[in-house]
């Protein structure tokens, strides 16, 4: 199993550790619900070093990124980030990812831990005649996420980067706790916050310094368990559950990442056709109307007939009910539509509700 460079810190805190995508990761510390609510009400600190980082450099860096991503990377100035996907020629997902523009000949792609090797192999296979150098830098990076309304008060004393003026989806190079980092105003929780990347091979002080500054302000370390409930409340997709190589960005309600006008990209013609013909299904949010928890892969029934499976489903610690995401036939995606989810030997009532389930109010 691979260890992140903060493994000792998790063990010292008595974290419950699990194996995740080949990594020894903390799933919870004090408890999932407590960690989830701490992030919503104050701040949470996440070790996300297992994520993958790919460097795309060279003369054709922009052209190459434009080819593999449906979003328009030409809009990015140095210091800007955008959310997008890595698509197959069928317009379906190899992965979702962030594209960071360091400068016009250097783009940093950040991808899911579960797909890093697959994504890098895919990106390499697309190189063709593009004058680019591709580097899987994942093992050299460590990454922390600091998320919550207290993120700026906690992080500002530790860094020379001016945090408050940073727009969402921008990043800067600077020092955090004396270590050279990328500080990006991004995250996977729906809260304000920062993701901090470093190539420093001894970054433990980053965790320690943030915990020291943050604990008096209500900061708690947060594991993978609450990471999932937080992202689902904010309707952020998870590869494998909500998006995969059978779903397109149009079907999963991320049409905005597809910029048809920017030029050609992998899967463009399929997506153009899908847009013209109209969608047959769409990813929508639901909540359970009776007691129970809907979990991934539980069977779905529409008008009493089998209609697929739950994509993502959990118990929401904030709303104290079961919420999730499901692909439904287009006619059934109207808000308020009722359907049923099979939970063990019962069929439990569910209804289509607006998303995101949670939106921050600051």
């Amino acid at each position: 199993m691979k260890l992140t460079r903060f493994n000792a810190q998790h063990r010292k805190l008595g974290a419950k550790m699990i194996e995740f995508c080949g990594w020894d990761m903390p799933v919870e510390y004090k408890g999932l619900i407590e960690e989830h609510l701490a992030c919503r009400h104050a701040a949470g600190l996440f070790d996300v070093s297992h994520m993958g980082e790919i460097h795309v450099t060279g003369k054709d860096a922009l052209a190459f990124v434009q080819h593999i991503s449906p979003n328009d990377a030409a809009r990015l100035s140095p210091g800007q980030v955008q959310y997008t996907g890595l698509l197959t020629s069928k317009g379906t997902y190899v992965d979702d990812m962030l594209v960071y523009c360091v400068h016009p000949e250097f783009y940093l792609l950040v991808v899911n831990a579960a797909n890093t090797d697959k994504d890098f192999a895919y990106v390499v296979s697309q190189k063709g005649a593009y004058a680019v150098h591709l580097d899987n830098a994942s093992d050299r990076y460590s990454q922390l996420a600091l998320q919550g309304r207290q993120a700026i008060p906690i992080l500002q004393p530790l860094t020379d980067v001016k945090l408050a003026p940073m727009h969402s989806f921008t990043f800067a190079f600077g020092k955090v706790a004396g270590k050279e980092c990328i500080v990006s105003r991004t995250g996977y929780t729906g809260e304000d916050g920062f993701e901090i990347y470093t190539l420093d091979q001894d970054p433990g002080i980053l965790w320690d310094a943030i915990m020291e500054k943050g604990t008096p302000l209500g900061l708690q370390p947060v594991g993978l368990g609450a990471r999932d409930t937080l992202r689902l409340e904010s309707k952020l997709p998870l590869y494998g559950n909500d998006i995969d190589d059978t779903t397109t960005p149009l079907e999963c309600d991320f049409a905005w990442i597809v910029k048809f006008k920017k030029g050609d990209f992998l899967g463009r013609d399929v997506l153009v056709r899908q847009k013209e013909q109209g969608l047959t299904r769409k990813l929508v949010g639901f909540e359970l109307r009776d007691k129970g928890i809907a979990r991934p892969h539980y069977p779905v029934f529409v008008d009493g007939k089998p209609a697929g499976q739950v994509a993502s489903g959990t118990y929401s610690p904030l709303f104290k009910k079961s919420i999730g995401l499901v692909y439904l036939p287009i006619a059934k995606t109207v808000l308020g539509t009722e359907f049923e989810i099979g939970i063990r030997d019962k069929k439990v009532k569910a209804a289509v509700v607006p998303t995101p389930f949670y939106k921050r109010n600051y």
Partner: protein, 128 residues
């Protein structure tokens, strides 16, 4: 830390015996494995249970766990308080978070169960 007069199963249920009445819950080890409990499904009063028959389910945010009856008998009481306060299972698994009370059919069922010291040894074995 495990009550000396309780019996335990390999599935981490406990039984406390009072004459022919058996009170059943899940152990501290089990509640730690589950994480924050959010729902409990209780059986009907009057239900007859065989040894290892499903009593009900306990759901945490990230897992569902079946509770198996350690002994055979008839359900005479269920802990309805758990419906409104399922987190009691995490807070007081050996006391306030009892799940059902059974009228035992066969006290001999207890012979197959572990006493506290043996259960603690069993848990140590699991850690390796």
């Amino acid at each position: 830390m495990y009550p000396q007069n309780y019996y335990f199963t390999k599935d981490h249920e406990w039984v406390a015996v009072d004459g022919d009445k058996a009170t059943v819950g899940i152990s501290d080890f089990a509640q730690k494995q589950l994480g924050d409990v959010v729902y409990v499904e209780l059986p009907e009063i009057g239900k007859h249970l065989d040894v290892h028959q499903t009593v009900g389910t306990i759901e945490s945010v990230k897992a569902v766990s079946e509770v198996f009856s350690p002994v055979s008998g008839e359900v005479i009481e269920t802990n309805a308080a758990l419906n409104n306060a399922p987190e009691t299972i995490n807070q007081d698994p050996h006391g306030k978070a009892w799940i059902i009370k059974l009228k035992m059919k066969n006290p001999g069922d207890l012979k197959a169960l572990m006493k506290a010291a043996d259960y603690e040894k069993f848990l140590e074995g699991l850690a390796h």
